[in-house]
């Protein structure tokens, strides 16, 4: 049983029809702004080679730390690379890492949280002990261990981040399920003879989804920044030249006072992307929630 199966199930009073969902989603202007920002980042990522004015890897020491100009709209960095082009290419790696890691982590987290919260008992005890162990482990140790053993690569960073993400989600979902499973509409469904799977995915899942969406979208920026801290600690992608926003930001912090443009533009890229995901997440939440309005 998965979320996909749930979507295929007959509609209930708790799940809005697709049309109503889309109408709600696009009726809110802030949602549209969010969607635009996210799409903008995605376009940068996908069409980077077309959009970027310069080669993001081309170093030229004669262009060492140049302030923004017509030639280089965002200025150049400490090996003379064009920051605008690097910011555009940076969308690729930053989005890839954050989206995949968050997606995998959240999927696992929601599924496990639903199961463990609903059924309780020894399964709950066992799973929560595993959650405890993983959550009590500092992120750093987990990622260093994964990268140390599997080798430094983007995929292993994603794996490491996903390992850290799921227990948080599980806890959040579980605490919701705990209070929901005693709610009237659930006990009613149960007394009417609904199967457990049906109750979990038809009645409980729609009611826990909005905090999870909020949590997931808000976490995306955190992951972009976490990736930055990891590269700062030498645990980012092995390729030093690869432009990720987080890495551009951490590496340029020594220039924060002498060349403001170096940390500023990747910072703005992160800010706008995080903002986009958040506004979009808000819109999704309002659209998903049948009880509002």
């Amino acid at each position: 049983m998965s979320a996909k199966t749930a979507a295929l199930m007959p509609e209930t009073q708790h799940v809005p029809s697709q049309n109503r969902f889309l109408r709600r989603l696009f009726s809110n202007p802030t949602t549209l702004i969010g969607l635009t920002l996210v799409l903008g980042a995605l376009v940068c990522a996908i069409f980077a080679p077309v959009i970027a004015p310069k080669d993001p890897y081309a170093r030229d020491l004669s262009k060492y730390v140049l302030a923004p100009s017509a030639e280089h709209l965002f200025g150049t960095d400490d090996v003379g690379r064009d920051i605008l082009s690097r910011v555009i290419y940076g969308a690729q790696i930053s989005l890839k890492i954050s989206l995949i890691a968050q997606g995998v982590g959240i999927l696992i987290g929601v599924f496990v949280g639903l199961i463990t919260g609903y059924f309780g008992g020894w399964l709950d005890t066992l799973i929560m002990r595993v959650v405890d162990i993983v959550m009590a482990f500092p992120l750093l140790i987990i990622v260093i261990a994964l990268i140390g053993v599997l080798g430094p690569s983007e995929n292993n960073i994603i794996l490491g981040l996903a390992v850290v993400i799921w227990p948080n989600t599980t806890r959040l979902v579980r605490s919701q399920v705990l209070s929901l499973k005693e709610a009237e509409f659930v006990t009613a469904a149960r007394s009417l003879g609904s199967a457990d799977a049906g109750i979990i995915f038809r009645h409980i899942l729609p009611n826990v989804i909005s905090p999870v969406v909020v949590y997931a979208t808000l976490g995306l920026g955190g992951i972009i920044l976490a990736e930055a801290s990891l590269s700062f600690l030498g645990l980012g992608s092995a390729q030093q030249a690869t432009p990720s926003w987080g890495k551009m930001l951490t590496e340029s912090r020594a220039f924060i006072r002498s060349a403001w443009w170096m940390p500023l533009y990747p910072g703005i890229a992160i800010l706008l992307t995080v903002l986009g995901f958040n506004l979009l997440g808000d819109g999704l939440r309002d659209a998903l929630d049948v009880r509002s309005k």
């Binding site: 162990i133 500092p138 140790i141 959040l172 955190g222 924060i256 006072r257 995080v274």
Partner: protein
């Protein structure tokens, strides 16, 4: 209740043991070697061998484990490979600044985050809603080290409002790191407050209360906020636990001698006993806070019983 408490503490033991063993083997599988770190660039093969001997790193791994475990069971976490100080002393020294920073930061976050969330939920889709969300969002999106350094320049060098801008002390030196550490949490709390409050506000029984003509404010406090407390407390607790295991960047930028820096330094040095001790300390902190939260649930939501 007491039975629940006892069972939770009993459940904690295998968790701690699991963490202990996992850390032990993880550290020894990892590339990097404490003797290499200690000897640094200039150590030759003989001094490396001597250091490995002195740290007992050349012994079979199970012998090392037995020795470690034996000492730990007697309450001795050993000595740091790097400083040769007792691990428990070093953790204790770092714990005090850590908890001071974490409590201050979470308090700031609660004071700012929850009201922002309430405002934006009650005035949903208004300009206040947008503003509250924007404040929270900008806080979480600004990279902490960028903001931290900028605040140091503005308040320390330019305005000279804060004479000492880095270092440890329960005085003006706490202000900037606490604000920096609270930013991520403010956004989280605002969002979760708004989101769950909206859920609750739109539930039938609140509508019923409203239709019965209860005053808006009383509806909020009596029903909505109390019900929204559950996720707020959960988020607050996990954030506190997160900050207690070290606000690494904040500690580094503001020279705050907390557990995050201790952990990073220890990992970099492959200081096995120190890492082992810190991981156990984090596990205990984390378990303790979660136990407190779980014990708190029934007070908020009577439907939850243990």
């Amino acid at each position: 209740m007491t039975r629940y408490l006892v069972s939770r503490i009993v459940q904690l033991l295998p968790t701690i043991l699991g963490i202990y063993l996992l850390t032990f083997f993880m550290m020894r599988i990892l590339p990097g070697d404490p003797a290499q770190f200690l000897e640094g660039d200039r150590g030759d093969e003989q001094s490396m061998a001597e250091t490995r001997r002195r740290l007992r790193l050349d012994e079979p791994i199970l012998v090392q484990l037995a020795a470690y475990l034996g000492d730990t069971l007697q309450g001795d976490l050993g000595r740091s490979f790097i400083t040769n100080q007792p691990v428990s002393d070093m953790i204790g020294r770092a714990f005090v600044p850590t908890i001071q920073l974490a409590l201050t930061a979470t308090t700031i976050a609660l004071i700012l985050g929850v009201p922002l969330g309430v405002v934006s939920a009650v005035r949903q889709n208004s300009i206040w809603d947008a503003l509250s969300r924007l404040v929270a969002l900008v806080g979480v999106s600004i990279p902490v080290f960028w903001l931290g350094l900028q605040m140091q320049v503005i308040f320390g060098v330019q305005l000279k409002w804060i004479p000492r801008i880095s270092g440890y002390g329960i005085d003006e030196r706490l202000i900037l790191p606490a604000i920096s550490a609270s930013l991520g949490m403010i956004a989280l709390l605002t969002r979760i407050t708004r989101s769950t409050l909206l859920d609750v506000l739109n539930q039938d029984y609140i509508r019923t209360a409203k239709s019965k003509g209860l005053a808006n404010l009383r509806v909020l406090t009596r029903h909505a906020l109390v019900n929204a407390l559950l996720p707020i407390v959960t988020v607050w607790g996990t954030s506190l636990a997160g900050l207690l295991s070290g606000a690494l960047l904040v500690e580094t930028i503001f020279s705050w001698p907390g557990m995050g820096r201790l952990l990073v330094d220890s990992i970099g040095a492959r200081d096995y006993p120190m890492i082992q001790g810190l991981v156990i300390a984090f596990a205990l902190i984390y378990a303790g806070i979660n136990l407190l939260i779980d014990l708190f649930y029934p007070f908020i939501d009577p439907r939850i019983r243990y």
